[in-house]
């Protein structure tokens, strides 16, 4: 693509202007979110990932620093420190609920070396069953519920990825950043612009759909398609794009995990054997509605059917009068919308950081591959299976390795049934 001189100059000017905008913006954001030091954070959970609240954490450090915090309803605690040095973080075992104990009592105190400021350091305490063991059935049901919620989050993200792959052939490694975008925009509109979270969410979703869906296709992928760029080349471009966007997020919002100003700590409701927070109930229900809506759109609406036609055979679809570009545009917008909400669901529970997209991306790929690349329901089925598998696996393997379990399952499935659960058994090799 030979660029004319005026076009070249115009692009440079646009680039510089965007950079100034982003930079100024980032300063505004940084000044609103005070972060003059480092934060020690942690999450106290039992083997079933149920948060343990009211657990006391003592922190002592250089210059006579000493403080005590208590884990909140989500089991979370955090301590701000303003100087570098070695800190002792001790878990007060007497404050653990009955039936819970440190798996290794010699590790009640962790030594944390804060090397530089401006970071968040996670402190891990492994909690296991003490004298009383939670029955396996109760644990399993809770984990199943958690797994379904996780599955719905992944499904929202995976559906968009699958649709884009189906209609354009692009494996978009930058898809995870759409989740981050949704979370960060919600954070911006609520924590910085001051809107209530309920209002921030729809604004963030709409804006994400526009920027991450419409604009991304219009400004980046559509021109590449027109040039006839190959699929592997576009894959690598998406990798570069993901890296770029991720660091733009870091540049603007900094490295900390940001929590939303409301609902950060919420007690769980006991419903039968399951403990679930009201915000989870609401967000999961909305998520399910969105999924149902998207599926209905795919099956029944004119655009939806057209998109399945394009995914099946673009040349034939175009020849039958379907406007392929319009279909691709709507697929991108829908995909970005769903992914943004998935990011918001994650943000509601654990906050948002610039790395959220990267962390989720692999799970999304696993779900799509498991379900069957390119199939309509495949992403849905695969996501639910992955979500449930991840959570249930913690019955057997340590919680911190639960993603490993999911990835191993993915590899095994590829060995045994490479077309995925719903894929057709065609030549995959």
């Amino acid at each position: 693509m030979k660029l004319g001189k005026t076009q070249f100059v115009r692009n440079i000017a646009l680039g510089l202007a965007s950079f100034f905008l982003i930079s100024g913006f980032s300063t505004w954001v940084a000044s609103s979110a005070a972060a003059a030091g480092s934060t020690l954070v942690g999450e106290i959970k039992d083997v079933a990932s149920t948060p343990l609240s009211g657990v006391r954490i003592d922190v002592t450090g250089p210059n006579g620093f000493a403080t005590q915090v208590t884990s909140d309803a989500m089991g979370k605690w955090q301590v701000e420190v303003t100087s570098t040095g070695i800190y002792d973080v001790t878990l007060d075992q007497s404050s653990l609920p009955s039936g819970q104990a440190l798996t290794d009592v010699t590790k009640a105190t962790r030594k944390i070396n804060v090397l530089m400021l401006g970071t968040a350091i996670t402190v891990l305490f492994l909690i296991g069953p003490g004298a009383e063991k939670t029955p396996i059935l109760d644990q399993s049901v809770q984990l199943l519920a958690d797994g379904l919620v996780l599955g719905i989050i992944i499904a929202l993200a995976a559906l968009g990825l699958n649709l884009v792959f189906g209609t354009t052939g692009l494996t978009n490694f930058a898809h995870g950043e759409l989740l981050t975008l949704g979370g960060l925009l919600t954070y911006f509109f609520s924590a910085i612009a001051g809107l209530p979270v309920f209002a921030a969410i729809p604004i963030a979703v709409a804006l994400s759909a526009f920027i991450g869906g419409y604009l991304q296709d219009r400004l980046l992928w559509k021109p590449l398609r027109k040039r006839g760029t190959g699929l592997i080349a576009m894959l690598v471009v998406s990798i570069g794009f993901a890296i770029f966007i991720r660091y733009v997020f870091l540049f603007i919002f900094g490295g900390f995990t940001r929590q939303l100003p409301q609902f950060a700590g919420q007690a769980g409701l006991e419903i039968g054997l399951v403990s679930i927070t009201p915000k989870s109930i609401i967000s999961t229900s909305v998520g399910l509605l969105l999924l149902a809506g998207a599926t209905f759109w795919l099956l029944r609406s004119k655009m939806g059917k057209a998109s399945r036609a394009v995914a099946d055979n673009p040349a034939l679809a175009a020849a039958s009068g379907i406007e392929v570009e319009a279909v691709i545009r709507s697929v991108w917008i829908l995909g970005a919308l769903l992914a943004a909400f998935a990011g918001i669901m994650v943000t509601l529970n654990q906050g948002v950081s610039f790395l959220m997209g990267q962390d989720m991306l692999l799970l999304i790929f696993a779900a799509v591959t498991l379900g069957g690349l390119g199939t309509a329901y495949g992403a849905l089925v695969g996501s639910l299976v992955i979500g449930v598998l991840i959570q249930l696996s913690t019955l057997i393997i340590p919680t911190e390795l639960k993603y490993v379990g999911a990835l191993l399952i993915l590899i095994i499935i590829l060995l045994v049934r490479p077309q995925g659960i719903l894929g057709r058994k065609e030549r995959v090799g």
Partner: protein, 331 residues
């Protein structure tokens, strides 16, 4: 603005430890992706296996260094087999996903608290496991010239590292121009045609995966020994993607391209960072535009942007042949 300092830093970086590490990683990737068409997105995993083998075996099990290095090579062969056996019969995208997953599994296990005792958890392993290696150093005083500046240890790593790179490159060159290399290049073009001529495609792909993986583990050795430390988060997907950037910058499927790509990559990265840092401290760039802490982030933004521009406008890299690329019906 201290331009002499900037020049010294940039040129030292261009020929320095990071360049060697990424050159080796990219040479391995060149075998996989450049010559055989294998989408290995888990090269970081091979580096991790090499690095951790050395660190763990010397620190926790008191292996002599040379034995740990051999074990590292052996482990990378095992990893290649584990990755290749299920996936080399499948479509290219499946290999991509499995290799990313595998590298991520390795990183998660390395940073887990469960294996803390041997693998060091999220803090990694720091220790004098390079003792035997640095004991051989005849240049303990380092180097201090206007363009290049290295301390004693780094100088030794740089010298031995480049020697290693040259040896590896020579072997690669021999392999690539042999009939074996010809089969690989044919596989990249069209596997079915190669099968119809009686060649066992699967075997060749596996051999390519193993060799590229071994070279990747060499990169891991340099990474671990140069710092006498291994940190799990250094071996994430970012490492693999930067290796790809280096490879594509130089021009995939050119034997010496990974070296050129790596030198240019690190020169630019350090040069830009130093220029920005000094400009910001000197006040040429206002604080509200770029804060002092944000200079590092800009570097990575530029890497991402650079990779995109490369693939869009010059996918053949600096030394690749546009014609050769244009002929590929697939890409």
């Amino acid at each position: 603005m201290d331009f002499i300092f900037i020049a010294q830093q940039s040129f030292s970086a261009a020929l320095g430890v990071n360049t060697i590490i990424f050159a080796l990683a990219a040479i391995g990737l060149n075998m996989h992706f450049g010559y055989t068409g294998l989408l290995n997105f888990g090269q970081a995993g091979f580096l991790a296996v090499g690095a951790y083998s050395v660190a763990t075996l010397v620190v926790s099990f008191n292996f002599p260094l040379w034995a740990a290095l051999l074990a590292g090579i052996f482990n990378s062969v095992i990893l290649a087999l584990l990755l290749g056996l299920p996936t080399l019969r499948l479509r290219a995208d499946y290999l991509a996903i499995v290799t990313i997953a595998a590298a991520e599994i390795i990183r998660q296990i390395a940073r887990s608290a469960t294996f803390n005792e041997y693998l060091g958890g999220s803090d990694g392993i720091t220790g004098k496991f390079g003792k035997d290696f640095f004991a051989l150093n005849p240049f303990k005083s380092g180097l201090n010239t206007p363009f290049l500046r290295y301390n004693g240890n780094d100088l030794w790593v740089v010298i031995t590292g480049w020697a290693l790179v040259i040896v590896v490159l020579f072997v690669m060159w021999l392999l690539v121009r042999s009939p074996w290399g010809r089969v690989l290049k044919s596989i990249r073009e069209d596997e079915e045609a190669v099968r119809s001529l009686g060649k066992n495609v699967y075997l060749y792909k596996m051999q390519s995966l193993i060799i590229g993986g071994i070279v990747g583990s060499f990169a891991g050795f340099v990474y671990a020994l140069s710092r006498q430390s291994v940190q799990p988060d250094n071996y994430g997907t970012a490492l693999t993607f930067f290796a790809y950037t280096v490879l594509i910058l130089g021009g995939a499927a050119r034997v010496f391209a990974p070296i050129a790509g790596s030198i240019i990559f690190w020169f630019l990265l350090v040069f830009i960072e130093q220029m920005l840092r000094q400009a910001v401290s000197a006040g040429y760039i206002p604080e509200w535009l770029i804060g002092v802490n944000q200079v590092g982030q800009i570097r990575f933004m530029l890497v991402g942007l650079g990779l995109m521009m490369l693939m869009i406008f010059r996918p053949q890299g600096i030394f690749g042949d546009r014609k050769e690329l244009a002929l590929d019906a697939r890409a």
